[in-house]
């Protein structure tokens, strides 16, 4: 009898999960398998042909560009992570603990979320009038007398890339951290105060440890988005900087699919290992 129910639960579970699984099998697993296969293929200038050779990987690992580009990718990820973490935590903290009315909390939270639902490309474009040579930033700095000539490194530079990343992805920190903060029992904070902790001590010893799951989820989002990005780097650096994503898209542009695939496989492994390390600290499914 019990086994019968267990089987029925399996059956209906599978039935309900089947559309999801089908999409993921065909558009996630198959593409990954395909990329792994093609990464061993060969390419001429116009076409690709099936083969089993390690040339693409050999070339990838023997080229010094690869290491520079991977290093750059990690640098973007790390700096963006650090900034979005501090900024996102501050914003979430303000919303969760300083705004007392729920209506205001929701309203301000939505205000932070709305840009997420608009186009990333347009949000990148919209930095041009700010950062350009004759842009608002330069004009303001000149008027303030801080600089005498327009600075060139505002737009089309690593600075612009990271600024855009922070602009696009801070939200991915705010939401999960805010979510965990809202579930902190306020009596814990009172207990901390009663026990003589000042605001800073409460923050460090009570709030931050309790927010760890949210911080981890936000970090995973930001790190993977930045590591997998290619369009922000291309646009904001004016094609002057490269990360791994751009390496792939350049190969794709040259129809060098096998070499693009090999790079993609290495990128995927890098991202998965990074996430694997991060996931050791938190159980995502419990925290939703």
């Amino acid at each position: 009898m019990f086994r019968f129910f267990a089987q029925r639960s399996n059956l209906s579970g599978w039935a309900l999960a089947s559309p999801l699984s089908l999409v993921l099998v065909f558009f996630l697993i198959c593409p990954i398998i395909m990329i792994v296969i093609v990464s061993f293929w060969g390419a001429t200038e116009f076409s690709i042909y099936p083969a089993f050779q390690w040339d693409n990987y050999e070339f990838l690992f023997s080229s010094s560009v690869t290491y520079t580009v991977f290093l750059k990718t990690f640098m973007y990820a790390f700096i963006t992570w650090a900034i979005t973490l501090i900024l996102g935590f501050t914003v979430a903290y303000y919303l969760a603990f300083h705004i007392k009315s729920l209506t205001w909390q929701i309203a301000l939270f939505l205000l932070c979320t709305i840009p997420f639902w608009t186009s990333n490309i347009i949000r990148m474009i919209s930095w041009i009038p700010f950062l350009g040579r004759n842009g608002i930033a330069n004009e303001t700095l000149i008027q303030l007398g801080l600089i005498s000539e327009p600075v060139e490194w505002l737009l089309f530079s690593d600075f612009a890339v990271i600024l855009a990343f922070v602009h696009l992805y801070t939200l991915f920190m705010v939401v999960p951290i805010f979510n965990t903060m809202m579930r902190i029992d306020h009596s814990l904070l009172e207990a901390a105060r009663d026990a003589g902790a000042n605001g800073f001590q409460t923050l460090v010893n009570v709030i931050i440890p309790l927010c760890k799951p949210g911080i981890m989820i936000g970090s995973i989002f930001v790190v993977t988005l930045v590591m997998g990005d290619f369009i922000t780097v291309r646009f904001m650096s004016g094609s002057q900087s490269a990360n791994v994503g751009r390496l792939i898209s350049n190969d794709v542009g040259l129809l060098q699919y096998p070499s693009a695939s090999a790079t993609a496989v290495v990128l995927l492994l890098t991202v998965l290992i990074t996430i694997g390390i991060m996931l050791r600290f938190v159980n995502i499914r419990k925290e939703l």
């Binding site: 639960s9 399996n10 209906s12 579970g13 309900l16 559309p19 999801l20 699984s21 999409v23 993921l24 065909f26 558009f27 697993i29 198959c30 593409p31 990954i32 395909m34 990329i35 900024l87 914003v91 903290y93 303000y94 300083h98 301000l108 939505l110 205000l111 932070c112 709305i114 840009p115 639902w117 608009t118 186009s119 490309i121 347009i122 949000r123 474009i125 919209s126 009038p129 700010f130 350009g132 004759n134 842009g135 608002i136 602009h167 801070t170 989002f221 993977t224 997998g228 990005d229 369009i231 646009f235 792939i248 794709v252 699919y257 695939s261 995927l268 991202v271 998965l272 499914r285 939703l288």
Partner: protein
């Protein structure tokens, strides 16, 4: 009422700066899109006009904006419907322990964190090798689903984690079939959250770039068209298009939020007759 501390004012200031940081650039291109016909990409304003907006409606001026807009809209709608249905089904499935659920869960997480270009490249290669044409409504649709479904599913997890199962038990005790339980009890309760899933489905698809880059085929979606413009258009017409798209996004978000609030109110209003019985 406690007195506001100094940190409140400091943090309020930081928050205001953050909001300015988020919206400032968008507002700036909104203003610059009103440049006069001789205006450039940066300030100062060279007169004020709707010149660049008119320009968008002229056929030869820029690429196939309206075609790409209608494709993006249709695609967003398709992705939205599929995301809602599949996420709800998936959410229901994950409430039960079934063999393989752990594996599917990890697939969903993988789908969320995998670099978009891998999906684009992989799907493109598969279609290529099978001799199928990539098209926004087939390969593009599937690729976008790998981005919207994880969000939909995560929302459903959050919803069902907070769902009080005693409602369903009550329905079952009253003799409701499993389908009736879902149709008349579960769906009305989770209704407002489904609007959230729909909002994610539509907007994420409407704005998606990387996953459609190699899978949209010869007919561009709007983000692809806009990105193409960035390399060869150097007039404020780019800002006009950006502003128009953003306004459209705001309208979409407003409609979804409005519907969600309406459903929430309706739920509160109608929820109260539970004790008076169904006739």
């Amino acid at each position: 009422m406690e007195r506001r501390s100094l940190s409140f004012y400091v943090l309020s200031f930081v928050f205001a700066l953050f909001i300015l940081f988020l919206y400032g650039p968008t507002i700036t291109i909104g203003i610059l899109s009103l440049q006069g016909p001789n205006g450039g990409l940066t300030f100062p304003m060279n007169g004020m006009s709707f010149h660049w907006f008119y320009n968008l409606f002229e056929q030869q001026a820029v690429g196939d904006i309206w075609g790409s807009f209608s494709r993006s809209f249709a695609l967003g709608f398709m992705v939205m419907v599929i995301t809602v249905v599949v996420s709800v089904m998936g959410g229901l499935a994950f409430r039960k322990k079934f063999i393989g659920s752990g594996f599917i869960f990890y697939l969903v997480i993988t789908s969320l964190i995998i670099p978009s270009i891998l999906i684009s490249l992989g799907v493109g290669l598969i279609f290529n090798q099978l001799g199928w044409d990539v098209h926004w409504s087939t390969s593009g649709l599937g690729s976008q689903l790998t981005w919207t479904l994880p969000f939909g599913l995560l929302i459903m997890f959050a919803v069902f984690n907070r769902f009080d199962k005693s409602y369903e038990e009550a329905a079952r005790d009253l003799g409701a079939t499993p389908w009736q339980t879902i149709r008349f009890v579960v769906l009305p309760i989770i209704g407002p959250s489904l609007i959230g899933v729909a909002l994610f489905g539509f907007t994420l698809s409407y704005d998606e770039f990387a996953r459609t880059l190699l899978t949209a085929g010869s007919y561009n979606t709007l983000p692809l068209e806009i990105f193409g413009m960035t390399t060869n258009v150097t007039t404020p017409v780019l800002y006009a298009l950006g502003t128009l798209t953003t306004v459209f996004s705001f309208i979409v978000i407003g409609v979804f939020l409005g519907v969600a609030i309406y459903l929430q109110r309706r739920k509160k209003r109608l929820g109260s007759d539970a004790h008076s019985g169904m006739v």
